[in-house]
């Protein structure tokens, strides 16, 4: 049986290292609403692959630096 996959992100940390980029600025760069950025930071929304790439591009880093996944439960 597959374990449960949980996608986490480092958006808050990356915003800080990008000169304390605001949620609104990131939202504008990624073409989404500020509420979507807030939901992602609170782990309440997992973005589509396209949006994930757009966020990574906004920070100028690779997608794996923005998103990471952790599995819970054993993979059998």
């Amino acid at each position: 049986m597959q374990g449960k996959l949980r996608v986490r992100n480092n958006i808050r940390k990356l915003r800080f290292f990008a000169g304390e980029m605001t949620q609104q600025e990131l939202a504008e760069k990624a073409g989404v609403s500020r509420q979507t950025i807030i939901a992602m930071e609170a782990d309440k929304y997992s973005p589509s692959l396209e949006l994930a790439f757009r966020i990574a591009l906004a920070f100028g880093v690779s997608i794996t630096e923005v998103f990471e996944c952790e599995t819970t439960g054993a993979n059998t």
């Binding site: 504008e28 989404v32 609403s33 979507t36 939901a39 309440k44 973005p47």
Partner: protein
């Protein structure tokens, strides 16, 4: 509160007002005897009038809501930055009203709740016929279930916006 939440609440309130207006109107007509249960043509006409009224009210309320929201955003932008020009204000309004993939996903998920409610209404309408109630009861159950479905859709949207997907 986000733009989408405000828009949903506006739709919910206008939908609720229309549903109550129909219920009161239908009940008063039925009690006064001007809308007998057997006269299905009259009931169909009444429902169609409310559907038309619903469309007009929804359009007007949404126009009014967007005007007020735009004014609010413009005032906020001016307070934040007194030198903000028209283009800056226009940009702020566009940013406020942006609709993205999360909004579309929430709409789809809540639409499912609305369809379930409408489907249940159809089911109960058929049951009412089986129990020997007049066809007008069936018609009204179906009509109310569509309204209730649209209200549930709005409530589900608010839930997903608050609690997350």
């Amino acid at each position: 509160m986000s733009y989408q939440e405000k828009k949903t609440i506006t739709s919910l309130v206008s939908g609720l007002v229309l549903m109550v207006a129909y219920a009161v109107n239908a009940w008063l007509r039925y009690r006064a005897g001007t809308a007998p249960a057997a006269d299905l043509t009259l009931w169909a006409g009444l429902m169609l009038r409310y559907i038309g009224l619903g469309i007009i009210v929804t359009i007007l309320v949404q126009i009014l809501f967007h005007i007020l929201l735009s004014v609010g955003v413009a005032v906020k932008a001016k307070i934040r930055d007194a030198d903000c020009d028209d283009k800056g204000i226009e940009r702020s309004i566009k940013q406020e009203m942006v609709e993205d993939e999360r909004d579309k996903l929430i709409q789809l998920k809540s639409l499912r709740s609305g369809f379930i409610m409408a489907g249940m209404g159809f089911f109960f309408a058929l049951i009412s016929l089986l129990l020997g109630h007049p066809p007008v009861v069936m018609l009204n159950i179906m009509f109310f279930s569509f309204y209730a479905g649209s209200l549930l859709e709005g409530l589900a949207q608010l839930y997903y916006y608050r609690k997350g997907l």
